[in-house]
Symmetry: C2
Subunit: 364 residues, 2 copies
Amino acid sequence: MTTSSEKPSRPRLDLTADVVTLTRQLMDINSVSLEERAIADAVEQELTAYDHLVVERRGNAVVARTDLGRRERVVIAGHLDTVPVNGNFPSRLDEATGILHGLGACDMKSGDAVILKLAATLEKPNRDVTYVFYDAEEIEAVHNGLGKLAASEPDLLAGDFAILMEPSNAGVEAGCQGTLRVEVRTTGERSHSARAWRGVNAIHKAGEVLRRLEAYEPRKPVIDGLEYHEGLNAVFVSGGVAGNVIPDECVVTVNYRFAPDRSEEEALDYVRGFFEGYDITVTDSSPGALPGLDRPAAKAFVDAVGGEVGPKFGWTDVARFTVLGIPAVNYGPGDPMFAHKADEHVRISEITSCEQALRDWLSA
Amino acid sequence: MTTSSEKPSRPRLDLTADVVTLTRQLMDINSVSLEERAIADAVEQELTAYDHLVVERRGNAVVARTDLGRRERVVIAGHLDTVPVNGNFPSRLDEATGILHGLGACDMKSGDAVILKLAATLEKPNRDVTYVFYDAEEIEAVHNGLGKLAASEPDLLAGDFAILMEPSNAGVEAGCQGTLRVEVRTTGERSHSARAWRGVNAIHKAGEVLRRLEAYEPRKPVIDGLEYHEGLNAVFVSGGVAGNVIPDECVVTVNYRFAPDRSEEEALDYVRGFFEGYDITVTDSSPGALPGLDRPAAKAFVDAVGGEVGPKFGWTDVARFTVLGIPAVNYGPGDPMFAHKADEHVRISEITSCEQALRDWLSA
């Protein structure tokens, strides 16, 4: 016998709720990268209840499709994972200001909520729609759920145009910067720290690596009228053997965000030159995506939702659609400046305006 | 029924073997700090077999005493733990060169073997002897087995003179440098690494900390005719949140080795001044010990074993005996320059010469 108390730990997700409530429900399910099982279970289970959707699950990715035989198919996608908790879980709604605070508010549980709400309520959209929810966007590319689908079952992602609901202030952001991660390694020789002059301190040698990073001046190329903004940053540093041993290795992990006029190879050449004299190991690389605003499907969407088009600084999975030959843009609620920050938040008016604009476009 | 195969994993330790074989047996029992149970069990069990010794166990420390009512009592001590394995386990004897290689060769399984051999064979020494084997010397002072004995049962360590068998090239090394560990912390503000200009990179800020360390010039004061040699080194560095997050904290752990003319307080003042502008947290502090060669018991021992007296660079537990009011020196086989290094080794001639010199002094 099944009773309501049988699965007390099942996350609460109610697709009949309004899109802001739905955003909070998604935010309150912890889904730090590689821990997306609970949220994917909830999304899959709720969508399966709708007869107008064909739902498929791959790992912790969920794909739901209409199959109305429309002339055009649009893919609308969002990732379910977040960066680590930073004193900002669970969600907190400030009703006075209309601002929703907490981890995932803009990156990107609000975008996910819009997609879920459209999937549940648009029984007969004017274009066929493939709704995609996936895992592991916030970590190394090798784990990326969308990347795995693109590699193993590209037909599941087929379409004429794709919208990625990454935060873009409820406006259209085109293209995206690429991202490269390398380990910069210094080596030395161990000795007892009481006789340090017999060893070589690898951590001290990393001082020059950090000094170069501190002096770095970002490149800001203009492409299709959009100004990009590069970045070169240490994201991890580690070294040390024991409290009384001169360390013989230190590793600085560096993340280079490069504008889409540079290929992955050019980006790596630049980083190798920047750290000349140091041992470099590539751990992660993803290409950028050119704005692509000259493509007809992109133009049509931009005309429909209106507003000014801006450049996308953060790497997003629009680059994966570009590789599959599908024009794609970023369009979602929230200011990306607050993504990954302790004070992450989103204006609830942007959540509802994104939902309305997409609903209008898919219902016209 | 007990059979020889009942405890196949018991380490082999045979006190009737020669002192070099005994050194190898001790080296081949893995005893990285906090993992000394097996070696302490073996030492306790073997010594308990001798009627001329009263053996006591405290945690992983073992104390064996003669009780002959002699006018003078000497304490001979060694630690049983080692730094982490570094591709140098187990022992390897090069018979052609007479050099024994491997972890603990000089720091300080060879010294331990000398103590064990004397304990087993000197039934009626001319002075009462307290043989002390203890744990956790290579890590933070709070774990130190000798420190715990000194705090809880100082009577167990009572004596007129103490010899610590830390490596000193089979010569007498007097005094020791103090050691202070601090964490130097930089802070910043997290943001997405694609929009790094919205955050503050704490790892980049640590570059200045490492730059100062690289430029450090060691002080080399002369005390009682002995030249000491200070050192200031990063022994750990860590920072980072995620591969796409600008890190908001970086911690550099620094070890200051200071000559015994500086107190712990003076050492800390120096380090605070050196890292002015940075947040400093003390994690470990132990005082140095002045040479103390003016004390009669120290003079008598030095005269008996002969040779030139040198300064001790490394912190050793002579400082604990100094605090208890017991004059103490370092005297043991092996070159301390090779302690904590991958190529740690000891000349077997130094092991046998130390054993002989102590045996002669205690038998005269």
